[in-house]
Symmetry: C2
Subunit: 467 residues, 2 copies
């Protein structure tokens, strides 16, 4: 069974950072970044084009001529938060099943053809989307498009194919989650953070619900969401927009609109009323650790400028070895081996803002938590300085520049942002918006959201002995 496990990735809403570092321009000339770039004389960034086929498929082309390679990614607006109640894991299970063959392509043939031409492939499921990815030579692009378009409407599933793959998924859950106390704690923290929204349900699914998933469940999800008008195709690499357009019309253009999924409207969170704490002690844990999550808005739900301010705030507080937390807990006080903060702004609905820290031997989790809280309290009281903000925005924009160096990450940035409702203009203007963040905006966002009733605190510790 093990050998059948696909190299797929479950993209957690807590870990991806597409929007947080969407895109910037290679010359680092930050003053000319963003929307204004279009008006500028010099051609500064990739000439991204976007168009729709008649069946509703959005096609985005990102030229990148540095090497004879193309990245072909298809994104569906369908993730684990779109699953029907009680069917957790069906989005991810279907992602596995998409490799099981169609009316004309045999089980396993999709991957075999890519391997035969030396290509790479992957697939991933998140709370808000599912994506399929191949990296091949430009001459193989048409074949990729033909295969991907084929499995958008012609998937064939039988119980014979499905049931062993469900075991594979359970095995994936076992190795990633059931045997990993840190993952179990993260699941419990997400379930506590989201009291009403389906983001509280794990992307891979609850173990006892995966057990009950059927062929009918997979096909119902497929028929509801896998339709051209619910997908975004991103082609990046050594290819021009006109070629992609004609290939797309020839392949994807033949797929009928199979459904009208409409607006994605999930239950939202009530205003949080009380701080929650979760402790997990397990003999498999070697290093204790502390985590804190706060319920915050995403780029998609925040007031204008708020999400950008949260990105700057997380960097000042906890981004790397020059951050306030690291300097205080690791360097000055020497009570922690790690300490930091992060913001995951890429989500259709709510998002989370997190802190973490690991105590040095002899130091308790309570001490690390108290020291973290002291830094937070100090920030809320005294605020950040404009100088800190400027140093941080410069660094964030530079990071965005670096992220553009990889063709695959370019494709992921565009696909992952567009699938969450951003426009190409939003993506291109991100560096500009980050540079517009003021100390006042950071302080306001911090005081609004870093409140204990919005939080879940987690302790992971080694189990000393059986009770």
């Amino acid at each position: 069974m093990k050998s059948q496990i696909r190299r797929t990735a479950i993209v957690s809403a807590l870990l991806t950072a597409f929007v947080a570092a969407p895109i910037a321009l290679p010359n680092g000339n930050s003053a000319l970044l963003g929307n204004t770039a279009h008006a500028a004389q010099e051609k500064l960034g990739p000439e991204v084009s976007s168009f729709f086929l008649d069946n509703g498929l959005q096609v985005v082309v990102i030229p990148d001529r540095r090497a004879p390679v193309v990245t072909h990614m298809l994104w569906y607006r369908a993730g684990s938060a779109d699953e029907p109640p009680g069917k957790s894991g069906i989005a991810h299970f279907l992602e596995h099943l998409m490799f099981k063959g169609t009316k004309t392509v045999a089980n396993g043939e999709f991957s075999a053809r890519i391997a035969a031409i030396g290509g790479q492939e992957n697939a991933f499921t998140s709370t808000d989307y599912t994506g399929y990815f191949q990296r091949v030579t430009p001459s193989a692009l048409e074949e990729m498009m033909t295969l991907e378009a084929d499995r958008m409407e012609n998937l064939v599933l039988t119980d014979e194919l499905i049931l062993p793959e469900r075991d594979v998924v359970q095995e994936e859950r076992n190795s990633r989650t059931e045997n990993n106390p840190g993952s179990l704690l993260r699941e419990a923290m997400a379930a506590a953070l989201y009291q009403n929204h389906p983001y509280g349900i794990p992307i891979i699914g609850w173990q006892h619900e995966i057990d009950t998933l059927t062929k009918e469940d997979a096909l119902a999800f497929y028929d509801k969401f896998y339709t051209p008008n619910n997908a975004i195709l991103v082609v990046a690499g050594d290819v021009d927009a006109e070629t992609v357009r004609s290939l797309a019309e020839k392949t994807y253009g033949k797929v009928a609109r199979r459904a009208e999924p409409g607006v994605r409207k999930r239950p939202t969170e009530p205003t949080p009323q009380a701080a929650r704490r979760i402790e997990m002690a397990d003999h498999r844990v070697s290093t204790p650790s502390f985590q804190r999550l706060y319920l915050v808005p995403s780029y998609n739900t925040a007031e204008p400028g708020e999400a950008e301010a949260l990105d700057v705030l997380s960097d000042i507080l906890g981004g790397g070895s020059t951050s306030r937390l690291y300097k205080s807990l690791v360097i000055d006080q020497q009570i922690a081996t790690s300490s930091g903060a992060w913001y995951q702004g890429g989500a259709l609905d709510h998002s989370s803002y997190g802190f973490y820290g690991a105590p040095k031997p002899g130091i308790s989790l309570e001490e690390v938590e108290a020291a973290t809280d002291k830094e937070i309290a100090k920030l809320l009281e005294e605020g950040v300085t404009q100088e800190e903000v400027e140093r941080t925005t410069r660094r964030l924009v530079k990071q965005a520049v670096f992220s553009q160096d990889s063709q695959a990450s370019l494709a992921r940035i565009y696909g992952g942002s567009l699938v969450l409702g951003s426009t190409i203009e939003d993506i291109e203007a991100w560096p500009q918006r980050i540079q517009a963040v003021t100390a006042e905006a950071v302080n306001k966002a911090a005081r609004k959201y870093l409140q204990m009733p919005r939080s879940v605190t987690g302790y992971l510790s080694p189990k000393q002995q059986e009770g």
Copy 2:
């Protein structure tokens, strides 16, 4: 607006105890209780009869000739846990709207008619059911049945009627929950206890979702669940089964099967992995208190005998002033003003087992929690004695006897148990099953379920001063 608030009751799954004290027989001759009573020579209990109309309505008649009064209760198998995601509160809102009139009965006329004949009425919504109740003289029974049957299929709703009533519901939520830190904490604890099952959503609904409920939402819920084949009629009092049957056929018998709601299958809980803690400090709190919930099975989901064992366990540990917790914390150690435990076994799916305690002035919540945990640990280690079990089962059976003295509570016991899937035989055999509980069964259930990873702990405390 206030004067419009209906006298309705939201029945929390955490508070009802229908199944926990279902029914016993008035002479207290416990040796002859239960199913065997039918074979006994003497007539020991009410001669409960049950039959179905052609349209699927179950009718249960409980003769009680002590006074010229009848209790008429209609129970629908539809509660807050049956609501669509994002529509929390619609079951309870519809319960309010059921008094807004039909094709032939004007808004408010239903209640006016009952008041005119000196009757009493009420309505209640729970996680698993919604019920409507009137207490009138036997001569008015036909009118009650006519009115109740009429509003099962002829409800008329307009936005003009709906929108002010939604304000009434919000006002109800404000006074019960938003202005009550204890209620807010209970909501947060339920949301943390149920990570996947809709029992984590409050019966009255989240405030921000109540705001969005529409006429269409109410009618969709009504059309799906308010159908004779999804209801149970209980008539208790000074009336015989044949009279009820002919009246039921004449009134309810005319209502067509409006829908086929089918089996109620909600998402279930994963095995809990980590203890959760919630703290709420608020200046409106005068007395601090501690609570602990454990996820346990209900009478409907437990292994045979397990739920009965949990009922006995909760009584030994925390039922009244002779319980272990009260004797230890309140009398011996004098650290608490109250301390107890409860089990709420009446639910279609999961249930909860709770502990509570309030510290004496000068004592911390931590000390009360630690003392409670010490009693729990002692019980898990040493177990309960057979003598404790027998003393408890005698008392539980006696309590069940007392509960039969009220006609309304008899009707609630039968209706509330049948609507959760019990049979009349189950209800009548409950005293027998309680008497069969052994110390071994109690200890086994305690060790299986009173485990910290299954728990949520709550602290409610006065807010000392603003941070």
